[in-house]
């Protein structure tokens, strides 16, 4: 197991390095420069500024310098927010984004598992049909549309919850709901399909033959087996949540990292773009790693294959 983790860590670092390299060069391919309204700035001043930030050097040199700084743990300083380090900015946006992400994935998974299980157990009834409609909607309607609708109806028209900004738990409800729809839909679909499959398995008959009640046999035997494929889609779901949060944070004016990312691209704040990219990539890579570990926890057959018995 220890060897497996070390090996995975190495792969994770390589993945991250590839992402960094691609983003670095692609970012510099974008038209324009960090300087706004270039025509109004005198040539000498432009050069001085570029020199100041090290942008006058050839790209490969900048790349090597960037990697060197990164190895020492420095992401550099923001161009836009003068004198503020990227790490500092990230730490400022991180708590809000993390809270939204974690809340959405937990709420979404719980509701999804519940909805999917009930749909499978009440197959063909109105409950099942409703769950199916919710799944299809959650799957096909992008989170920003849901966010806009929630913001308009719940926030503006009915005035139940705040439409934006950050502060109390109430501020987090609408963005969490918008983000969790995709999670609910995906998990519910997987759980429903798998639950139907599991309910027909021989070991469910064994459980019944032992004298377990239906509730006990579903809770103890069916659910865990039905969870296995749902766990495998958690990786793509985390990606969905992260990309979704970029827009949803804008809609609800959440001072998170998604908002920071969009802004940094608009003003070509190179260091911040790199910082946020690295951060998101690392988050994603680590999530996938954790999901693989979780997969082993739920399915003992996977767990063993990593280690020698």
């Amino acid at each position: 197991m220890g060897r497996y983790i070390l090996q995975r860590m190495a792969y994770m670092l390589i993945t991250l390095w590839v992402i960094i390299t691609f983003t670095f060069f692609l970012m510099h391919l974008m038209p324009g420069s960090p300087l706004q309204n270039v025509e109004k700035i005198p040539e000498e001043l432009q050069e001085a500024i570029l020199k100041e930030y090290g942008l006058d050097k050839p790209l490969p040199v900048q790349y090597v310098q960037f990697l060197g700084n990164l190895a020492q743990g420095s992401l550099g300083y923001s161009y836009k927010y003068d004198g503020r380090s990227v790490t500092d900015l990230l730490m400022q946006g991180f708590p809000a984004s993390a809270q939204l992400g974690i809340q959405s994935i937990i709420f979404g998974s719980l509701v999804g598992v519940l909805l999917g299980s009930i749909a499978a157990l009440r197959r063909g009834t109105w409950v099942d049909n409703t769950a199916n409609v919710i799944s299809v909607l959650g799957y096909s309607v992008p989170s920003f549309v849901i966010a806009t609708l929630l913001s308009y109806y719940v926030g503006v028209k009915w005035g139940i919850l705040p439409t934006g900004l950050w502060g109390s738990f109430q501020h987090t409800i609408l963005p969490t709901l918008s983000l969790s729809f995709l999670v609910i839909a995906t998990i519910a679909r997987y759980i429903r399909t798998e639950m139907l499959e599991v309910l027909g398995q021989d070991y469910m008959k064994t459980a019944k033959a032992k004298g377990l009640s239906r509730t006990a046999s579903i809770g103890r035997h069916a659910l865990r087996n039905a969870l296995i494929p749902a766990v495998t889609v958690m990786g793509p779901l985390v990606i969905g949540l992260i990309t979704g949060s970029l827009v949803v944070e804008q809609i609800f004016a959440v001072p998170g990292m998604g908002w920071m990312f969009v802004e940094s691209i608009q003003v070509k704040d190179y260091t911040v773009i790199m910082g946020v990219t690295i951060f998101y990539s690392a988050l994603l890579i680590i999530s996938i790693f954790l999901i693989d570990i979780l997969y082993g926890v739920i399915d003992p057959r996977i767990r063993i294959s990593g280690a020698k018995e």
Binding site: Q201, Y203, K205, K208, R224, D299
Partner: protein, 344 residues
């Protein structure tokens, strides 16, 4: 009578609703299981033997299946009339079951120990530690080496034979009065089959559990059963002790079963005799004897009316449902290679 009946199945009818109509899987099955006895139910695929056994434990999915009529008296109590809640107290505690395929009958995500302990905790009100002790004892009893290590392992770490041993441990953990083994050796290879049968014979003597053994392997029957129930197309066509069925079978279908079994005492050049044809469609079962269409000795009456069950001697242990037993029927002797079963 020397021994009391533990289980009496009386005129049991079970049907399944399908897209094409009602499949009458079990059509009036009656048989008894005495205390401490092993009764084998034999017959080809689809003859209703598994449905019968699962109906006893009320394990058939309802819907689409349902018990149309009949009684299942277990210790004098009619199981068909119990509520689902009352059945839960019977399943696993009074009647336990071993299934055909040990590869799929154990939950892959739960340790074997926990799967044994589950029934104990539910039925015998044991605490976790006591249940664990008892589970260890059961693993030892079914011959699983180093049970202390095995108890924490998952089914995929067990071989096929070991899994079936674990299934037996689960089934016998609460010391049930009746064990139903639904083709317990079919999915195992031959050497393991012998081991599992030996184990079951052993445990039967030790624990005095009555057993219903469902199988289509007559070799298994000869080795383990006291009495045999031969089923065909949802009906019991012949019952008797193992000796009666193997040495003096009376129903042409039973002759056919014997004839299709490899024998050591007959010339090797002699080919096995299959039963030609296929069993009737249970969506619309025939009016007369269901075997008439495949029977060499079929008479006119066979296709028109189901024969009554005839007892062959006073004790009534050997019974057969065949028109050939009628006083007016011609005397027919079975072909020599089909009787006098060599495996007994």
């Amino acid at each position: 009578m020397e021994k009391q009946n533990l289980l009496e199945v009386r005129d049991l009818h079970v049907s399944f609703k399908t897209y094409n109509g009602e499949v009458q899987a079990v059509r009036g099955v009656s048989f008894d299981v005495k205390k401490g006895e092993t009764v084998a139910i034999v017959g080809e695929s689809g003859c209703g033997k598994s449905v019968t056994s699962q109906t006893i434990m009320r394990l058939i999915p309802q819907p689409p299946g349902w018990i149309k009529s009949g009684e299942i008296l277990f210790d004098g109590q009619d199981l068909t009339k119990l509520s689902e809640k009352q059945m839960e107290a019977v399943r696993g505690k009074e009647i336990a079951m071993i299934f055909q395929d040990p590869m799929t009958s154990l939950n892959p995500t739960m340790t074997v120990g926990k799967q044994i302990m589950e029934g104990l905790i539910k039925h015998q009100n044991l605490g976790k530690d006591q249940a664990r002790e008892r589970a260890l004892e059961m693993l030892r009893l079914v011959g699983i080496p180093s049970p202390e290590r095995r108890i924490n392992q998952y089914p995929h770490q067990f071989s096929g034979g070991m899994r079936q041993r674990a299934m037996i441990a689960i089934a016998l953990a609460c010391a049930p009065k009746l064990l139903i083994a639904d083709e317990p050796t079919t999915a195992l290879d031959v050497t393991i089959q012998a081991q599992i049968l030996d184990l079951m014979n052993d445990l039967k003597e030790k624990l005095e559990t009555s057993t219903i053994l469902i199988t289509h392997d007559l070799g298994v029957v000869a080795e383990t059963a006291d009495r045999v129930v031969v089923m065909y197309a949802g009906k019991v066509i012949e019952t008797g002790t193992v000796d009666e069925i193997f040495y003096r079978p009376r129903h042409p279908y039973t002759w056919g079963l014997m004839g299709s079994m490899p024998r050591l005492d007959l010339s090797r050049e002699k080919e096995l005799t299959p039963i030609l044809g296929t069993p009737p469609d249970l969506l619309s079962p025939p009016k007369g004897c269901p075997f008439a269409g495949r029977c060499k000795y079929a008479m006119k009456i066979c296709k028109q009316q189901m024969p009554e069950t005839t007892s062959l001697q006073e004790s009534g242990s050997h019974q057969v449902a065949c028109w050939l037993e009628h006083p007016m029927a011609p005397a027919v002797e079975p072909p020599v290679e089909m009787v006098g079963g060599g495996s007994k």
